[in-house]
């Protein structure tokens, strides 16, 4: 199915469907995300049974401030649909987990939690995955600095690149 046909098909069901650069994006609210993914998976015409990727972006100061992005792929028909769930606020963002529907989301949601602090409700084991357990903050937020952390043993402080001086 061509992206135009997919977009037409989805427009009848979802209010916000974008088509850009040959990619179809469905915009939903955070609470509808799991149901949307499930419906797309079970649609006999679309057959989007494979969840490729779960990630997020951060846009401080605008609404929605965070987007959780799901990339769906059909292994039989070889097309893709992106689902984006917009989270309204910066503080303690919550979204239902899709791990019960797609087991592959397990580590990917943990990664998003680690990087952005988005809490996935209903996730079986939502802990930090890439950073040390005792880490403070969520480094990929746009409000966080690039670098400048205390190294663990000598307490040396290296400032971020954009704040370094030549001396």
């Amino acid at each position: 199915m061509s992206p135009e046909e997919i977009a037409d098909r989805l427009r009848s069901r979802y209010p916000d469907v974008l088509l850009a650069r040959g990619e179809v994006t469905v915009l939903v609210g955070p609470q509808e995300a799991p149901a949307t993914l499930e419906a797309l998976r079970d649609d006999p015409e679309l057959r989007l049974e494979f969840l490729s990727c779960v990630t997020a972006t951060h846009h401080p100061g605008v609404v929605p401030a965070m987007w959780v992005v799901y990339e769906l792929r059909s292994t039989a028909l070889h097309h893709r649909v992106r689902v984006k769930a917009g989270l309204p606020g910066d503080d303690a963002p919550h979204i239902p987990s899709v791990t019960p529907i797609f087991p592959t989301a397990n580590w990917q949601e943990r990664e998003v939690f680690d990087f952005y602090g988005i809490v996935f409700d209903g996730h079986p084991d939502l802990t930090r995955i890439l950073l040390p357990d005792e880490w403070e903050g969520h480094p990929l937020l746009k409000t966080e600095e690039l670098g400048g952390v205390n190294t663990r043993f000598h307490g040396a402080f290296i400032p971020p690149v954009d704040r370094r001086t030549a001396t």
Binding site: L130, L131, P132, W135, P139, E144, E145, L146, G147, G148, V149, T151, R152, F153, H154, A156, I158, P160, V161
Partner: protein, 172 residues
Amino acid sequence: MPVERLEGIQLGKTPEEIEEEVERGVLLTSLDRAVGWARKQSMWPATFGLACCAIEMMSTGAGRYDLSRWGMELFRASPRQADLMIVAGRVSQKMAPVLRRIYDQMPEPRWVISMGVCASAGGMFTNYAIVQGVDTVVPVDIYVPGCPPKPEMLMFGILKLQEKVRTQETFR
């Protein structure tokens, strides 16, 4: 015997005492040389491969570059059997405590080669995740630049380290 050692001998000693001290110096210098020579020839590196550099370290140990020419092909998995740690790759904040622990488990005398620019200074990854230079965690003897260094560069670094080990003063 170096001249400065002779100058360091305190005045007010009898010629016999001076003679004795010189003899001891000569003995220990020879012993140092023997020990340095032996240590240099039988260095056992610990496998501490982290990232890209680890692959080049493996290449260095494999057929074409053949680290066994210097008696060093015996990479040990256990730090307790190794006396050289080649830190090959970027050291993350999460890895740093592990690295220190492995270093502490190695028996004395031990040496560290920091392989590649990430291990030496953080390299291009000036960010929250990477330790900006492994020398903030363990003492480093030789820094090998490059991203990743070619096997020839690592071998040059190893030969420099052997030179250092050979001339090290252990007993004096």
